[in-house]
Symmetry: D2
Subunit: 277 residues, 4 copies
């Protein structure tokens, strides 16, 4: 039967790279459905090729590796839903959005479980028949807490971990278990506000625009590669609480958009930037 795959390739640019890849796919009777590539000003090459046809993917990969210049990163993913686990704290807005999309098969992913350091959102998750793991951080050191979460994640082995308003700092050790596989949604403003009560800070600063940023988590929590951002206009009549409400709507929209891109294998990470093809 015909399976669709996605070839992801990045590395230093070489003359004729597209030519070689398309030649090889062509020779393996693969039909290119969509091909996108980008070469950065610093001559770094990125290509995403969606193709389908009957073939032995392992053999295809072998040929690609042997025929293409060394130093390229090559991956071939079958086109399928990603397995994910959500981590949340007490806020429902991003979680609710993802659950509704999931319930109607619009998420391009399978939510294996939801993990939270509070049980606040258990009733909501329960409505959708998804396992909810309440792993309190109380009376636990950060390391103990993360160990407990990691043990639970071991059960599910998700391809991606989505921090849908998980309000605890996570340690480098935790991040190292999921390199480039953790996605976070961050309220961030023009200018960005760090620390507690950002909407109060934004209100005090009198900003006219608030926004949100979805990004991969590296070891600098709010500083990983940005996947998507959006903003909404505000004015002086909006209180800090109005801004928080509007901010939550922005956050859920941005997170959904970012996840759609990631789950469709459209996002490359390059240094601290993302290339979206």
């Amino acid at each position: 039967m015909i399976q669709r795959h996605i070839l992801l390739m990045d590395g230093p640019d070489h003359k004729g790279l597209i030519y070689q890849v398309t030649r090889i796919l062509f020779a393996h009777n693969q039909n290119i459905i969509r091909n996108d590539e980008y070469v950065s000003p610093s001559k770094y090459f990125f290509m995403r090729t969606e193709f389908e046809g009957e073939t032995d993917i392992d053999k295809l990969m072998e040929v690609l590796k042997s025929d293409l210049p060394a130093g390229l990163n090559l991956r071939i993913n079958p086109k399928k839903k990603k397995d994910i686990v959500l981590m949340v704290t007490k806020e429902h807005h991003c979680l609710g959005e993802l659950l509704i999309r999931y319930a109607f098969d619009e998420l391009d992913a399978t939510i294996l479980a939801v993990i939270s350091n509070y049980n606040t959102l258990q009733p909501l998750v329960g409505k959708f028949g998804i396992p909810f793991h309440f792993i309190s951080h109380e009376n636990r050191s950060r390391e103990e807490h993360e160990e407990a979460i990691l043990r639970t994640l071991d059960i599910y082995r998700p391809e991606y971990l989505v921090l849908a308003k998980y309000m605890r700092v996570i340690t480098p050790n935790f991040v190292d278990h999921f390199p480039d596989k953790i996605i976070n949604i961050h309220h961030s403003f023009l200018p960005a506000f760090i620390g507690a009560n950002p909407y109060r800070q934004a209100y005090e600063r009198g900003v006219k625009i608030i926004g949100a940023t979805a990004h991969f988590v590296n070891n600098d929590l709010d500083e990983g590669p940005i996947i998507a951002q959006d903003v909404k206009s505000v004015d002086h009549r909006q209180t800090a609480s109005d801004m928080a409400t509007l901010g939550r709507d922005t956050e859920k929209g941005v997170l959904s958009k970012a996840l759609k891109l990631v789950f469709n294998d459209r996002v490359f990470i390059h240094g601290n930037r993302t290339i979206i093809l």
Copy 2:
């Protein structure tokens, strides 16, 4: 010396098209700077390839034509500024924007002349040392008027004709002189309003958003392929005149954006749609 060129290609999709084109460019020692393509759901193929190197472009074109499947549209343009003529009536906002950009070499085009059916804008154009042709429509039939304009255009032979708020309907005969080479800016709303005083209509309708559309002119004046659109929010406090002011700002921004895309050979026309690579 090394010249940069842009290959534009579209037609029915074939397996390995990218492969063949890149192979040929490769064989002619051309370095691909940027390559973008798109295949429509109906399997129509579009490719824009920016490349540079020393070669005989005519010979390259011959090879492309002979080696590639029949039925493809192929063009190779040198990467250079386009020669354009602007047509205006009495409104200055789009014209002023384009003149300032031109004065500081930001337009990707050379304004050869400005033609108007009124002399209202002659002083503004004069400031920038560009020929201004006042060709009144008074005491002339539409055909006579267009003939006079065409005679003037014959002097300049522009690659593109930009209707920067030219408020006269143009005839199919006129359009036929510049197939896919006339760009118009059109106020258009949500919903779109036809006919006189559109901002008054928008006000009466109580729309919360106004917008503008830049499009190619075919023989259905406000209905050609859309190149760019943008909108701005309004509320009940804005009068019809406020909306007109805001609308003009939107129009000039949308027209500038559309021209940048067209002048960089990034816009394909396909039926009544544009494909922008």
Copy 3:
């Protein structure tokens, strides 16, 4: 105990109207929390005054009526959640958004029931413990179907009826039961597309922006006073189905925004326009 109220007033403008109203509220020991007004270019006056204090509202209303010029529309609403009924067909996106907001007390309204001409969404509504009435239109004339719906609405007597993607045309007779109390969400584009498969039409037209409009329903279904509109950018890569997905996100956001305004008594209807204070 102190109750907060909202005075809504509109009519022909008179010198000193604000003065008289504030004087009367002042004399009744009411503290004005927020006062907004607007006078249209045609000298029509609108005022929304939020106030609180201990008083007999009926007496206050009597005084307002007797002291203010004749011909003004006056209403005083207690500041409270509105009772609403939702009508849906098969699409879940707006319904899901409203249910999640309702579940977390963010809707400024109480959802008394959901009525649908299909049972598709019954499971979703069931998760939230809200009565779901499946009233099929099959084997019923339009009049019989609407009669059945009206009988059900009689049980709940909602203050507002929200058509959250209810895809049946409703008759003038039905609308007359809820004058200015029915809110609809309508996909609408730049330009607006009428009839079946609007996103397909938008795709064929090659629009660069799609949008949605929330409006009151009068007897011209997609033509009532507009409450809120929003748009999203699209490009040629988006299929009609991608546009539909993006359109649904836009629809749910616009509907939520419009409902927040209406449920907070901030929307005046004036002819075919809305004044939002």
Copy 4:
């Protein structure tokens, strides 16, 4: 003859303030054209009242001062164009936008002169017949340079000073000459980038949105009260230079919008925030 005026008032809220003001205007036969007010959560009151009629404004002001509670800031401005001076360095985009608007009487202000620390933009300003003062900072201490500028400003005595991409830091001493009268346009991003080459920084950071902020200048250059902000979306294909181009378009739009608000006396400064009525 009938002159239109604008009353601006702010201070601690008192019961019945609107009532008293409208009563007094009413008693002086003034017709209120438009009245907007806002009371902050911390009970600080702001009101902008546009009115017209025949009266002695000084007498009216006396009555307002004597009848209204102490501690209110009261100003009455005739509704007229503001006199302004622009300060620029080498970038033309904001200047060009303002000159075109000025040339067609759309600026709500009279540009008395343009001052620059370079002569780069003299030709552009010259086209519009506006005095251009080239005051180089070379071979001058910062104090000497500012003294020279202040001497020139003394000739014009502008009501507002617009920094339309004036790229020198100005000293507290300079700012003190124009308290709340200097408006600056600042590139600022999500997150905000400080220091040299902000668009390069934004590119390196891989932001998906860039923006601009127009603000009053207090003694913390990029930190004064924000008047207007806007953003544009970008993606990985945009180079730092593309972002700079798009950023310039955003800057000129935001500055124009902010100036329109300020020149129409619609902006109150309250601490580090603006209230726009």
